[in-house]
């Protein structure tokens, strides 16, 4: 029993020490983005940056970075998020952000597109993109 408790304590530690998520935009993007705006972008409620340019958000595909981001920034579980988007998709009211497979794909996409926003494990961030928030 004690071992089990120790094991679960360790698991908890490893979760709380898990990767910090960095929200990134193209290096040329000068928009101000706070957590609330990022959440609105990822829920399809905000569709443009404050300079008026259309925002092009990308998600990650069901991995731990995505779970972390959904939990900390969007505040919904992946099931709740799926239910949320199904209400919009099947009524023509919105389209969820495209899903990319991993951090590198997001870094490449954001570096290549002026209007992009994405999120990656903050340890993976490089100079090709600009960090607008860490969660």
């Amino acid at each position: 029993m004690k071992k089990l408790i120790l094991a679960s304590a360790l698991t908890l530690c490893s979760i709380s020490a898990s990767a910090e998520v960095a929200v990134i935009v193209n290096a040329s993007n000068t928009s101000n983005l706070d957590a609330d705006t990022i959440k609105k972008i990822y829920l399809g409620k905000s569709k443009s940056f404050d300079n008026g340019a259309k925002v092009n958000p990308v998600n990650q595909n069901g991995n731990s970075v995505a779970d972390e981001f959904n939990d900390k920034v969007v505040g919904k579980s992946s099931s709740q998020l799926n239910a949320y988007w199904s209400k919009l998709v099947f009524t023509g009211k919105g389209t969820p952000p495209e899903k990319l497979d991993n951090d590198q794909a997001v870094l490449d996409f954001v570096a290549a597109n002026n209007d992009a926003i994405g999120y990656v494990d903050s340890a993976k961030v490089n100079d090709s993109v600009k960090v607008v928030g860490k969660f």
Binding site: K45, S79, N82, A83, K87, V89, G92, K93
Partner: protein, 381 residues
């Protein structure tokens, strides 16, 4: 024919766009099995034999961004209770004037209720089926226009929709196959949401005509009564039985709360087709739920009350037999019932949910009860 042409036009738009646009395919499905626990009464289409067909649905949606700000969408739905024959239930094109304003034209859902737009997408709500005492209008689509305005008002998200169009088709309302036609069908609905609270109000009007099926016993009886009244020169009474270009109004009010894993929803609706055999209807439901990680348990109470105002009775006391026949017809459409549903939803997969609902329907007029149990799996893909 008209409906087909809308569908074909949207398909043509989807197909012709393949060189320049990305076509997205999404879908949803519900596989539901259920049965009535009573051998002599049916509810939601279930008798005492288990059916996996009755409430199962499979749907595919194709959408294409044609070019700047223009998109085309078609949703093909196959229903078990229609032998899984695939039909276009949505087929429309949308033009986005801005981030906040879009106009759609084609075949779409009528926004009667809070869950109308995604009524078939079981994954989007907690019940096996939305409360049927309220969700009881026997058609759900229209052909026409929809103007949608989304904006932020302070901390509130506001969604305002205005629709205009018409509906014609066969529905199961008075007789089994009423030929229904709704013209000048117009409506407005407004949803305001903020954090854990969402409020909605809807108002729709139409000019409604039904041609009742004479092969159906109710249809034949009402058509016969109308004919006798006309033959007796009781034109205005005959007009009050007929459903012919009658002004109709629908009012819907609702709210939902999702606070600290406590869920609370309610909707109230009222429907009137003036000067017709159709009774004035008012119904509501209230539903509470509790979310425990991936499981939601819920309880729902529904109430339905359909009746004619007392002023509609005893109009021709000079002719007792006819008076009794009219009274009988008016009384015949009366309905009063309650439903209690207890159920659970389990999100066992990021794109799939398992559900089980037990519902008890109480008919206050016949003083009978019917129990139905249903289990289902809802998917989105």
């Amino acid at each position: 024919m008209k409906k087909l042409s809308v569908a074909v036009a949207v398909c043509a738009a989807l197909v012709s766009s393949y060189t320049s646009a990305e076509v997205r395919i999404n879908g949803f499905a519900s596989i539901v099995g259920g049965k009535s626990l009573d051998s002599d009464s049916t509810l939601y289409g279930y008798d005492d034999n288990i059916s996996f067909k009755n409430e199962s649905v499979f749907a595919l949606q194709l959408s294409a961004d044609l070019q700047d700000k223009l998109s085309a969408t078609a949703q093909i739905v196959a229903r078990g209770d229609n032998d899984f024959d695939a039909e276009f239930e949505w087929a429309y094109v949308t033009y986005e004037f801005s981030d906040e304003l879009q106009l759609s034209a084609g075949k779409m859902r009528v926004p009667f209720y809070r869950y109308s737009d995604f009524i078939d997408v079981g994954y989007a709500y907690r019940w096996v089926r939305p409360p049927q005492s309220v969700y009881n209008i026997p058609f759900s689509t229209y052909e026409g226009l929809s103007l949608l305005h989304n904006t932020q008002l302070g901390d509130w998200d506001s969604t305002l929709q205005v629709i205009y169009g018409g509906f014609d088709g066969e529905i199961d309302a008075v007789s089994a196959n009423d030929k229904a036609e709704l013209n000048n069908f117009a409506g407005i609905n407004w949803t305001m949401s903020r954090d854990w609270l969402s409020l909605r109000a809807a108002y729709l009007v139409a000019e409604t005509s039904f041609e009742l099926d004479s092969n159906d016993s109710t249809g034949a009886a009402l058509n016969g009564l109308e004919d006798i009244l006309r033959a007796s020169n009781l034109t205005s009474l005959a007009d009050d039985i007929a459903i012919d270009e009658d002004n109709s109004t629908f009012i819907g009010l609702g709210f939902s709360i999702d606070y600290n894993d406590i869920l609370f929803d309610a909707e109230y609706t009222q429907l009137e087709v003036e000067n017709s055999i159709l009774a004035e209807q008012s119904q509501y439901y209230a539903s509470v739920g509790y979310r425990l990680d991936d499981v939601i348990i819920h309880f729902t109470y529904e109430d339905n009350d359909d009746k004619h105002d007392s002023s509609r009775f005893d109009k021709i006391q000079a002719i007792p037999s006819l008076n009794a026949a009219v009274n009988g017809a008016l009384e015949g459409v009366r309905a009063q019932s309650n439903v209690y549903t207890i159920g659970a939803r389990y999100d066992f997969h990021p794109s799939a949910a398992f559900k089980i609902d037990f519902s008890r329907f109480e008919d206050d007029i016949t003083d009978t009860e019917t129990d139905v149990i249903a289990v289902g799996i809802d998917l989105v893909f």
